[in-house]
Amino acid sequence: MPENKKIMIADDDPGIVDAIEMMLSFEGYEVTSTLTGDTVLNMNSDYPDLLLLDVWMSGHDGRDICKALKQKQETSGIPVIMISASPELKRSAHEAGAEDFIEKPFDIEELLKKISQLIK
């Protein structure tokens, strides 16, 4: 089912990026990743089908990135699942335009469920 779907992971922790990348690849998704928020803001082509976005990234607030993406027409349609160790951020994540939120550490099944719901 997830074939040809491209998911982008943005998190400043390489361990998490690597683990999720491996996990989603294992599930059959095409995965790209970045450790900096700039990469996300600067992408202008080859948009992913879904973005996993960490809230607190070094130097960037994931919510600001999310808002920026949702304001750009090209990227506004990309579903965003925000990830954070702080469940309190769930509301502000939604306010920033994120489609969903998942708390670290998460269960892989839960994440896959959320992803599959957002990627038709």
């Binding site: 998490i16 491996m22 160790a85 769930k90 670290k104 550490p105």
Partner: protein, 860 residues
């Protein structure tokens, strides 16, 4: 008879003359009369010749008849030279001639010899009687009794002797030769007049014995007692002419008799009055005569045999009695005190005193003596002994100062205080030795005069120790002691307290106060006090230093000025509410220090009560907790950051683990995949612990957030149970759910609580296999209870399980895992949601944890 003196010749004589003179006319006529009747030579007293011549001459010269009466002129007896004694009464009558001259005179002697002799005899008789009477009178006069001779119906006092006068206390001149009652009118009305009249009438003597006479003696009315006789004086013809009164004064005798009687009466009365019983014990026969009082003292209403008396003597005192009796015979007297037990079981002390009487052979015959109830005396003695004990054991000096300047008594404490060794020494030491000269002067000038004048003095004075010479202050309370009879002062009683310990205590108190002041000033904590209405009455130097204020700037409610404006109202409201409830006050606030810095403080105050339990205010402190606050913040920040940072590697570990598990499963490495799955569940536990730590730091810093919305309560529970049942192992989670409807709350937080309760229930009931979850609606609450059948919780612990870091302790409890934060977090969540949480539990039977949320939120 011729006038021819000196012859006086007889001219003629008649027959009577011749007969009376034993003569014849022949012999006589012409003869001188003196020749015819010469003088009797044996009669040398009558002077008859001269008297006759004188009478003749008188008659001739005066020409009047001259009479001589009863004179003696003896007549010669014819034929003898003898004379016959004759008495005559003769008249010589002159006869005149025509010229009126006396020519002769008639001499007419009348022989009165017989008459004269008779008269003479009578005279002699009377004289003799008179002499006799005189003698009798003189006997009367000298008689040692009072004698009065009364005459006639007037009781004319004919004679009274000195003894009688002395007896009646009258003077002779006012008593003698007058009627009796004139001499003592005060007696007339008494019985004596009647008695005298009786004797006068009847002629029968009257004897009076110990008669009482009220009489004025020497001007004083007195009562006399007399023995007397009224003896009638009876004349020859039987007529009673008078009364002889013989009286003796027996007043003294009567008086002594009465006095004796009185004395006896008084003695009897005295014996009765002091309640003395008397006894007479016959030692030969053993019989005893007792007085009524004696019987009474022994508790008997009537006389009883001697053995009865002995029987009621207290058994413990029987020996005292028998010993006294044995010794009495030898000593001659008896004395003992024993208890007597009355019929009503009351105890009476009696004292027996007596004298032993012996016969001439020295054999003891009887004991006569008295018996006295001395119960009161004994009790009094006991009281006195107690009083003496009190005085002896008093820590204060007690003394009796005689007016001669020495103490007659000083109690033990006083002797020690002043350095006396013996009581002898006390009595011979003048007070001058117990004071310095200056202090003695004070005592003599101030203390003693005031005691004497006003009856008492109290104040501080100085005394000197006899041995060490130490001079020390005492508080003296002294009074004048007066003789109860004369009312004159006889001594001064004093109670003195050594003031040294008191002064030392005062000094110690002052030192202690100084110390306290130093401590409170030095304390790094502010201290305060308030009165019962909450007005500040004290702050210490520390507070004043912090706030750079004066003491007076903080009184009442002024202390609030120093508090940060944002905290002021909260601090005051808390104080007002705690004050109202008399509760322990505790509040944290920020304080504006004088240097402009802001410090966090925790103020606490403990309600104070006086001895009667009345609330009198608060005593409290105010500690600077800025540093703690800072550390707390650092700790919370650290835990927050640490937990957050921990989550990052855990997230990747978990992701790797899950990928690995999937790979293993795909490769068919079922056993490996199982191990990885276990690893994943351990990671979940770690995640949960990190989550708890994060929640606590959020709760502590007030940052726990809630996203309240409506959700189906039972639905949530079903979902949770479904999930939890997977990890519940052998436990079956039983649902007993009533219809609850929707709840308005933070679904995630509520599920956190429910999860916590169910996992706890499973964790603490390792030996059972079921947990029951119930929901219900009560009144305006929706309720959830989780019941287990595990180890249970003691009652004391039940109150604490909802506290932070609390873990049920006990033999095995430490072996259960966890940080002890779950229930604290659950309780905080439920409280923030406006509900309540509680537990019912019994050790060994299990626990039921419940929470309830307000139902009004259901419909929102």
């Amino acid at each position: 008879m011729s006038t021819d003196a000196p012859h006086y010749t007889i001219l003629d004589a008649n027959k009577a003359y011749l007969e009376s003179t034993n003569s014849t006319r022949e012999v006589l006529v012409g003869k001188s009369v003196f020749a015819a009747f010469p003088a009797n030579p044996t009669d040398d007293v009558s002077k008859n010749i001269e008297r006759t011549i004188f009478s003749f001459e008188e008659a001739i010269n005066t020409k009047k008849t001259h009479t001589m009466s009863n004179y003696r002129y003896d007549i010669p007896i014819p034929g003898t030279d003898q004379f016959e004694e004759r008495y005559w009464t003769t008249s010589n009558t002159p006869v005149f001639d025509e010229n009126g001259d006396v020519i002769y005179f008639i001499h007419s002697p009348n022989n009165v010899t017989e008459t004269y002799k008779l008269a003479q005899r009578e005279k002699a008789g009377i004289l003799a009687l008179s002499n006799q009477r005189q003698q009798l009178y003189s006997v009367f006069m000298q008689a040692p009794v009072g004698i009065v001779i009364l005459r006639g119906i007037d009781f004319f006092v004919e004679l009274v002797n000195d003894n009688y006068l002395e007896l009646v206390g009258k003077k002779r001149e006012e008593f003698e030769s007058r009627p009796l009652w004139e001499g003592m009118p005060e007696v007339e009305s008494q019985v004596f007049n009647d008695l005298l009249q009786g004797v006068l009438k009847t002629g029968i003597a009257y004897y009076g014995s110990e008669a009482e006479v009220k009489i004025v003696r020497n001007g004083v009315l007195e009562t006399l007692y007399v023995n007397f006789v009224y003896e009638p004086l009876i004349e020859f013809d039987g007529r009673v002419s008078g009364i002889i009164v013989v009286a003796t004064d027996v007043t003294e005798t009567i008086r002594s008799k009465y006095q004796l009687k009185d004395a006896e009466e008084r003695a009897r009365l005295a014996v009765d009055a002091v309640g003395l019983g008397t006894f007479d014990l016959d030692l030969i026969h053993g019989e005893m005569i007792t007085s009524v009082q004696f019987d009474k003292i022994f508790g008997f209403d009537e006389h009883v045999p001697r053995s009865e008396f002995v029987n009621v003597i207290h058994p413990d005192d029987q020996e005292v009695r028998s010993k006294a009796h044995q010794e009495a015979i030898e000593k001659g007297w008896i004395f003992y005190e024993v208890r007597v037990v009355w019929k009503d079981d009351s105890i009476h002390w009696v004292r027996v005193e007596g004298k032993v009487y012996y016969d001439e052979n020295g054999k003891a015959l009887r004991i006569i003596g008295t018996l006295l109830d001395i119960t009161e005396q004994r009790n009094f003695r006991e009281e006195q002994r107690k009083l003496a004990t009190l005085v002896d054991n008093s820590v204060d000096l007690m003394s009796i100062l005689n007016l001669n300047g020495t103490n007659s008594y000083i109690n033990k404490a006083g002797m020690t205080l002043l350095g006396f060794d013996t009581e002898e020494q006390v009595m011979h030491t003048p007070i001058a030795n117990l004071h310095t000269p200056e202090d003695l002067a004070f005592v003599e000038a101030e203390v003693l005069p005031q005691v004497m004048q006003k009856g008492r003095w109290d104040g501080t004075m100085y005394v000197k120790h006899l041995k060490s010479g130490e001079i020390f202050p005492v508080f003296n309370n002294c009074i004048r002691i007066d003789d109860p009879v004369s009312g004159k002062p006889i001594a001064v009683g004093a109670v003195m307290r050594d003031l040294r310990p008191e002064l030392a205590a005062k000094q110690a108190l002052a030192d202690s106060e100084q110390l306290l002041r130093n401590i409170t000033t030095a304390a790094p904590t502010a201290l305060w006090m308030s009165d019962e209405s909450g007005d500040i009455t004290y702050v210490n130097q520390t507070w004043m230093d912090w706030t750079d204020s004066k003491f007076s700037d903080n009184l009442g409610e002024q202390w609030l000025k120093a508090i940060h404006k944002d905290d002021r109202k909260r601090a005051l409201n808390k104080f007002i509410s705690d004050l109202k409830q008399r509760a322990f006050y505790e509040v944290e606030f920020r304080l504006n220090h004088s240097d402009g810095t802001i410090h966090w403080c925790v103020a606490t105050g403990k309600p104070q009560y006086d001895n009667d339990g009345n609330f009198i205010g608060y005593i409290g402190s105010c500690s600077d907790i800025t540093e703690q606050k800072h550390l707390q913040q650092q700790k919370d920040d650290f835990i927050g950051i640490a937990s957050h940072e921990l989550k990052t590697p855990v997230t990747s570990i978990k992701a790797y683990t899950q990928v690995l598990e999937k790979m293993m499963q795909k490769q068919g490495a079922v056993r490996e995949a199982g191990m990885i799955a276990k690893m994943d569940s351990q990671i979940n536990r770690l995640t949960s612990l990190i989550g708890d730590l994060l929640d606590v730091t959020k709760i502590n810093s007030g940052k726990l957030q809630f996203n309240d919305r409506d959700f189906d309560f039972n639905q949530l529970i079903k979902e949770l149970i479904e999930d939890l049942q997977h990890t519940a192992g052998k436990h079956t989670i039983i649902e007993e759910l009533e219809d609850t409807g929707m709840v308005y709350a933070d679904r995630e937080r509520i599920s956190q609580v429910i999860t916590n309760l169910i996992t706890n229930a499973i964790k603490y009931s390792p030996d059972s296999d079921s947990v029951i979850v119930r929901t219900s609606v009560h009144n305006s609450e929706i309720r959830l209870c989780v019941q287990d059948f595990g180890i249970g919780i003691t009652e004391q612990q039940q109150e604490k399980v909802f506290e932070q870091f609390y873990r049920v302790s006990g033999d095995m409890q430490h072996t259960f895992p966890g940080l002890g934060l779950g229930l604290y977090i659950s309780s905080e969540i439920i409280k923030r949601e406006g509900g309540r949480i509680w537990v019912n539990s019994k050790v060994g039977e299990g626990s039921t944890f419940c929470f309830a949320l307000p139902v009004n939120q259901i419909n929102n």
